[in-house]
Amino acid sequence: MKKLLQILGLGAFALFLYMPIFVVSGSSLNSSRQMVFPPEDPGFTWYIAFFNDPAWVSALTTSIVIAVCSSFIATTLATVVAYLLWRRQSRLHEYLYRAVLTPFLLPGIVFAVSLSFVIAALGIMGTKLAIIIGHAAVIIAIPLVTINLGFSLVSKEQIEAARTMGVREFQLLPMVLVPMIRPYVLTGALFALIISMNEYVVAFLLSGFSVETLPIKVYNSQRYGFTPTLSVGTVLYMTFSLVVFTILAMTGRLYSLLGIEEKRH
């Protein structure tokens, strides 16, 4: 009985979460401009239209470029912070850790507004660089969590064992640490990438009407009425996320995003 209730409850929640996605996917397959669901005359018309429209392709490209750059910066910084924290555990490093996390912890609009003032003062408002910096500041929390987890799983005894096997101090990093934390770095970087692609508030406030990421373009396009091109963007993004997370799941790295090391039961 309890099992049945649980399955029904989970089913309802799954429906709640994915029904809108389902509707959007369906609407993207409409052949006409009508946003009908179920789609009449399903086809990939609008997908072709999307990729033929330079404005949409440009928005998508901009999103990807910003995402790759900000994810790279965020992951690199996060690795450094996590390594220093693991290596030299001290109050000072804890403060550094918290300072790096602050942008993520602030309410989105507050941080975006405050950062925009700094960006304006630096004179780089309305550039891709500004958004890259803004995104890096917010998404750094993700690789920081995963890489921290990776380092926490390196036991003191593993390092000592390596030393008894003749590994010198300067060899520890490349021979022992890098292979051990590499998967966590990748996982953090990928998740950060996805979040950056989807991020709106910071991008909106730093774009200054000259840079258009895909979320910005979708937001701006909504006031002109809905067309299935908007749905295409949504479907593309959702598919990308699903693919990435499925790959992470298959390589067993998904659980590190939760901050736990899970063993298969």
Binding site: S155, E157, E160, A161, A162, T164, M165, G166, V167
Partner: protein, 345 residues
């Protein structure tokens, strides 16, 4: 020349003197165990020998070479840690061949040696498995094979079998001893399990509060313990406080006579208070000591009684025929099977 020599080593951390004036000599090919209760410093001693803990005073040397200040990486000692410290991102074979990377061998060579080592520890053919896919006993063997890979001059084991069940423990300690004898490798093993230490070792060092109380062969420790601590720790012994006066040994609290035989043997004891330790089979039928029977232990030819004396539980041999489930026992002791130590303080 000894394989390993520890001379007057002291280790002090902060205000605590963890090791005080420790001396140890391990001959080539000898299997030595360090035995003692938690906190006695046995792991600290092992780690000092490995170079993972610096010594505050004293010297450590291996095959005549002073290694007191030599870093761990250069000592060529293989070590198996209590937590095993296997690399979870590598499979079994890569774990075992990891120490071989600095020898400039080709990958094929390393793998060949690794496979041979896995065969030696009865894990042949399992090289491709990952660490998460093997059992506790198998993991132990991998850790051992990995420590042996670099052909160390001394092997150090830190409570290697503590996470295993009893049967696996016995199996593995026998295997380790066999491999050790084959390779003529000096081994120092830390353990709190006296059965383990006494079974496989050539020499055992019983440690207490940072010192080695007695160092000798298992038989020496068992038959001729040199202190009350060792007598209590080794073997399954019961304890009695007694006083000797004018050649009569009586129990301290009850004033009952302890024994009626074997007193005038071997050593001459002065009058005073003593700690007496006796084995279960040291009891005799005639005597004044009393105990209340709690339950029997009958396993094959082993017949023992668990009895209560005041607030003490003792184990004694069942020397009474047709003993009921509840009984008051009266017994004496054969002093030739007991150990007496003057009570200190």
């Amino acid at each position: 020349m000894s394989a390993l020599q520890v001379d007057n080593v002291e280790v002090t951390i902060g205000d605590h003197a963890i090791l005080q004036c420790v001396n140890l000599q391990v001959a080539p090919g000898e299997f030595v165990s360090l035995l003692g209760p938690s906190g006695c410093g046995k792991t600290t001693l092992l780690r000092s020998i490995a170079g993972l803990q610096s010594v505050s005073a004293g010297a450590i040397s291996a095959y005549g070479e002073d290694i007191t200040t030599m870093p761990t990486e250069k000592r060529e000692f293989g070590m198996v840690f209590q937590s095993l410290a296997l690399f979870s991102h590598l499979n079994l074979l890569d774990n075992v061949t990891f120490p071989l990377r600095r020898f400039g061998l080709s990958k094929v060579e390393r793998n060949r040696k690794g496979e041979a080592l896995l065969e030696k520890v009865h894990l042949g053919g399992l090289g491709k498995r990952s660490i998460s896919q093997i059992s506790g006993g198998q993991a132990q063997r991998v850790a051992l094979a990995r420590a042996l890979a670099q052909e160390p001059r001394v092997l150090l084991l830190d409570e290697p079998f503590s996470a295993l069940d009893a049967q696996l423990r016995e199996e593995l300690r026998t295997e380790v001893r066999v491999i050790q004898k084959e390779l003529k490798l000096p081994v120092i093993m830390v353990t709190h399990d006296q059965d383990e230490a006494l079974t496989v070792s050539d020499k055992v060092g019983v440690m207490n509060a940072g010192r080695i109380e007695q160092y000798g062969s298992p038989d020496e420790l068992y038959s001729t313990p040199t202190s009350a601590f060792v007598a209590d720790f080794i073997g399954q012994r019961n304890h009695l406080c007694c006083s000797l006066k004018n050649g009569v040994l009586t129990e301290l609290d009850s004033e009952r006579k302890v024994t009626c035989r074997g007193l005038s043997s071997r050593e001459q004891h002065q009058d005073g208070v003593y700690d007496l330790f006796f084995e279960p089979d040291a009891v005799t039928r005639d005597g004044e000591l009393e105990a209340e029977l709690l339950f029997h232990k009958k396993v094959g030819r082993q017949q023992q009684c668990c009895a209560r004396r005041g607030d003490q539980i003792i184990w004694i041999e069942n020397i009474w025929p047709d003993l009921p489930d509840q009984a008051s026992l009266k017994f004496g002791l054969d002093l030739s099977l007991c150990h007496l130590f003057p009570k200190l303080g």
